[in-house]
Symmetry: C2
Subunit: 139 residues, 2 copies
C-alpha cells in the first residue's frame, strides 16, 4: 500500500466502513471514521488507531470537524445512497479531496458519480459478477 502518511476520512461505520478503516489504519494511513451511531464506532477493532467522530456527515460542520480540507482520501460507505452521493460530492467539489469513492446500491448513479470524478462502487454488481464468474468457471 502507498497510503502511508496520508489522511483518510471514512463516512459510515457499518461492516464495510469498519473493514476499510481498519485496513487503511493498518497500512499506516491516518484515519477518521464518522458515524451517527456511537455503538457502531465502538465496534471498531482495538487495533484501530485512528479517530472517530459521532455525527451526521451531511452537516458541513461535521466535515469541517473531520478536517476534510486536509484529506487525501474520502470514502462514503454508509448504507444510504443519498448520503453517500451528497457527502462524496461535497468532498470532491468543496474540499477538493483528490481520491473520493462512494458505495452505491443503485447502479444507475454510477455514471453521475464518475462524471464528478468520484469512484463509484456497487457491492451488488461486484458480488453478482463474482458469483456468476465462479459458477461459470466451474463449467
Amino acid at each position: 500500500m502507498t497510503v502511508r502518511g496520508q489522511y483518510a476520512i471514512v463516512i459510515g461505520c457499518g461492516r464495510l466502513g469498519a473493514v476499510i478503516a481498519e485496513a487503511l489504519s493498518a497500512a499506516g494511513c491516518s484515519v477518521t471514521v464518522v458515524d451517527r451511531d456511537p455503538a457502531r464506532l465502538g465496534e471498531l477493532s482495538p487495533e484501530f488507531s485512528g479517530f472517530v467522530i459521532e455525527g451526521d456527515a451531511t452537516q458541513l460542520s461535521v466535515l469541517e470537524q473531520a478536517k476534510c480540507e486536509e484529506a487525501h482520501i474520502f470514502l462514503a460507505v454508509t448504507g444510504n445512497d443519498n448520503v453517500n452521493l451528497m457527502v462524496s460530492q461535497a468532498a470532491r467539489r468543496k474540499y477538493r479531496v483528490l481520491k473520493v469513492a462512494a458505495s452505491i446500491k443503485n447502479p444507475n448513479l454510477e455514471a453521475m458519480l464518475r462524471r464528478a470524478g468520484i469512484i463509484a462502487v456497487s457491492p451488488v454488481s461486484l458480488t453478482a459478477k463474482n458469483i456468476l464468474d465462479a459458477v461459470i468457471a466451474r463449467g
Copy 2:
C-alpha cells in the same frame, strides 16, 4: 457464458438475486427464483423468462417444489446468513447440486462453506478490496 441449457435456482430476490437471475436467464439458463415476499418477485425485469416461487426456502417442501434435485446451479443470496448457510448446505448435501454458491455478511463463515464445497462470496470483503485497490491505484 456456458450456462445455456442448465437449470439454476436462485434463493432470494433482493437486488443481488434479481441481477443474478436476470443475467442467467439472459444467458439461456433456465431459472427459478424463490422469495417469501411476492412484491420482490414482482420487481423482476419483464425480460426475465424464468419461474418464481413465493415461499420460504428453509422449508424442504419449497426446495422440492423448485425441483432442487434437477438443478445444476444453486445460489443462496438472501440478506440472511443463516438462511443462505442452511439452504446452500441442503442443496449441496441432500440434493447433490454441483455448483452451489452463497453470499455471506460474516466473513468468518467462509472457511466452513468452502469445506462443504460451497462457493462463499462476501459482498463486504469484495467491496472493501475494490475500493482500497481503486484508491491506492490513484497514488
